[in-house]
Symmetry: C2
Subunit: 413 residues, 2 copies
């Protein structure tokens, strides 16, 4: 039999209905992890899944798994999913698209009375964004054993409310054990959150892996001095040194194209007064690359540059690495399945490396995994104006349907 198509309008309607929960005036969504609004969105998702004949289980960190039975209950499930918590000023598609695509796959299989050998599950991972509780990608992280359950339940938000308390408040600390069960494969559909597909005029991104990521805190110390009486040659201007570091971080990333990224996103200047030469600057450095060896070289170049550029202004400097996520390569057969589905559907596509973190990146540590990217308008995400075209969302969902069926295997009717 030929694979049917998903219902594009139904997918869109579900996304728009879900987006009403926490809708903002500017067209975005504010639905922080484990807030009452998150609880309402979870309730809606579960109602839809039950209406679609799924059995729903919730684990001890609040991850939801809606299961469509396979013919062979002993096979490991093929899972898809994402998250429905949002950034404080988030959009309608980030995360939500992956979850609603999974639901749409189930609904399409129902419409077409397709039975699969392996069970299919649609997962909602708890707190992917990390805006209210850190760390990010909490639910999938506990699921795969990156963080312990007990310690994670004790993480508190800014008001002192813990993850465990918040889960109980919305009724989502479930009885199921977290993780520890085999997964046949994991796929996640997601908006790209970057401008590459749009720039390359492609509808579909075949995600081959994710950039390694390292974060650093840099401090540069000079000497406050009065901007008038202090001649240029006698200054210890930490902002000149910091500005040189910003440009050098950019130059390093340019030398490691196409996959290198270097960003200074945060800078704090002291005393930050217009007529005082700044005595101290703190700044962040974010380095990314698809190859950990190259990323290590970028780090070495950055460390040397900070020291050299600070000294050139008679300043001292420190560099502290505060995060280190290795690069991730997705499973070759899953990646190939995504690429083949795109080809079969006649979609313009390209291989792409995820620059951002996703639940799929943790899942890749325990099962064959890949992701499906679709374009978002202007590459803008984590923003209330985040937008995507219905036809692109449908294209990604059709690819998801194809790869889920390939891995879960259709029972011949």
């Amino acid at each position: 039999m030929s694979t049917p198509s998903i219902n594009s309008q139904r997918l869109w309607n579900s996304l728009m209905e879900l987006a009403k929960i926490g809708a903002t005036e500017k067209g975005g969504v504010r639905r922080l992890a484990l807030s009452p609004l998150d609880g309402q969105a979870r309730d809606l998702f579960i109602r839809w899944c039950k209406e679609a004949g799924c059995t729903v289980k919730v684990d001890g960190i609040g991850n939801i798994f809606a299961r469509r039975a396979g013919k062979n209950g002993s096979l490991s499930p093929v899972i898809t999913g994402s998250h429905i918590d949002t950034q404080p000023s988030g959009g309608k598609f980030d995360g939500n698209y992956g979850v609603m695509s999974g639901l749409e796959v189930v609904r399409t299989l129902n419409d077409n009375k397709i039975q699969t050998e392996a069970p299919i599950e649609v997962a909602v991972w708890t707190n992917e964004e990390g805006s209210r509780f850190t760390p990010v990608m909490m639910g999938s992280g506990v699921f795969i054993g990156a963080f312990p359950l007990d310690g994670t339940l004790q993480r508190a938000d800014i008001d002192g409310v813990t993850v465990g308390q918040a889960l109980k408040q919305i009724g989502y600390q479930g009885p199921e054990p977290v993780g520890g069960r085999p997964v046949g494969a994991y796929f996640e559909a997601h908006i790209e959150q970057g401008p590459i597909l749009e720039d390359e005029r492609k509808v579909l991104g075949v995600v081959v892996g994710a950039l390694g990521l390292r974060w650093y805190d840099v401090a540069i110390s000079g000497q406050d001095s009065h901007a008038g009486p202090t001649p240029m040659r006698l200054r210890k201007d930490s902002l000149i040194a910091a500005s040189s570091v910003v440009l050098e971080v950019n130059a390093i990333a340019q030398r490691y194209q196409p996959d290198g990224r270097g960003t200074v996103g945060f800078m704090q200047v002291k005393p930050n007064s217009r007529n005082v030469v700044p005595g101290e600057v703190r700044l962040s450095v974010d380095l990314r690359h698809s190859d950990d060896g190259q990323l290590e070289k970028m780090e070495q170049e950055m460390r040397a540059a900070v020291e050299r550029l600070a000294k050139a202004q008679n300043c001292s400097s420190t560099v502290e690495r505060v995060a280190n996520y290795p690069a991730c390569k997705f499973d070759a057969s899953c990646v190939s399945a995504v690429r083949s589905a795109a080809q079969k559907l006649g979609l313009s596509h390209m291989d792409i490396v995820s620059g951002a973190g996703h639940d799929a990146i943790y899942m890749a540590r325990v099962c064959p995994t890949s992701m499906i990217f679709v374009p978002c308008e202007g590459g803008i995400s984590h923003n209330e104006i985040e937008n995507a075209k219905p036809e692109d969302l449908a294209a990604g969902c059709n690819v998801l349907l194809n790869v889920m069926l390939e891995k879960a295997k259709v029972v011949a009717s």
Copy 2:
């Protein structure tokens, strides 16, 4: 007769006594303009002046004038002075040194029974620092007509207390008209507040004028984007543009040596998150030069650089000039008097241009004026660790004594 010397120990003791009012734990002084502590310091100054035989008058903006009569009451007074308000975390010498030096000159004349032809006055100018109420150099500014009295009395601090109310609270809104009377000459002794004298190993700075000053607000707008998924070539990174501006402001100042200054002291990055390419940066630019024509060229170069460097990052930019003080040249005969006194006293000295604002710069608009600088440790001022050597302070005060006598003329005994 030969000119006597001031009493170095008495000068130092007066400075240390005055510094007790508002003393901070770290050895500095916090004595905001028109605060109760400022009132106590004014009371002490007036008591000392009256004990030295002066008559004291206070004008409508709170400026204090302690007058030592001359033989010829119809001659315009020769005035010296400075301020006794401090920065929020200020030192013991900024301003206070000029006022205590004036008092020490009066005391020395008394000790030596020297009568002058013209009267001598020691002035305390209200609110030079501008920390509590803006604008800076308020008292001297109203005195010379740069600001109207009524509007200035209505300036409010952060708690809504006006200058007029604060003056009344401490009992210093005096009956005398503000300004409008001839001044024979004005001299002001001050710590340098910069590192040049120390660096050049000179005891005395002959201040020939003050740098012109222009302040600008610069805004650079790009596009927020996620640091991971956004490739380098598709960014609109406002912080890269802003950092390039910081370096170019420095480069411009370097091209206009020795008197050019260029400083970015303030920078605000938005959204200022480590994994977001910054969409907006606001920064200040402070340009100074002793020659207004050169300063104009510096401004033109800076404006062109901001536009060019923003465009290079696909960002837009605006530059707004928010302050413009022309360069000031002090009166040739007053400058010459300072230089001659330093030579006569055998002090190592050099000509110097003031980079900071001082009450003397306003006074120079209405009467022959100059200043006398002495070194401060490490060039550090506006800081609780501000320090100066007793012998340097005494040297500056002896120069002040000499020039006051030259301009007020000693009555032959």
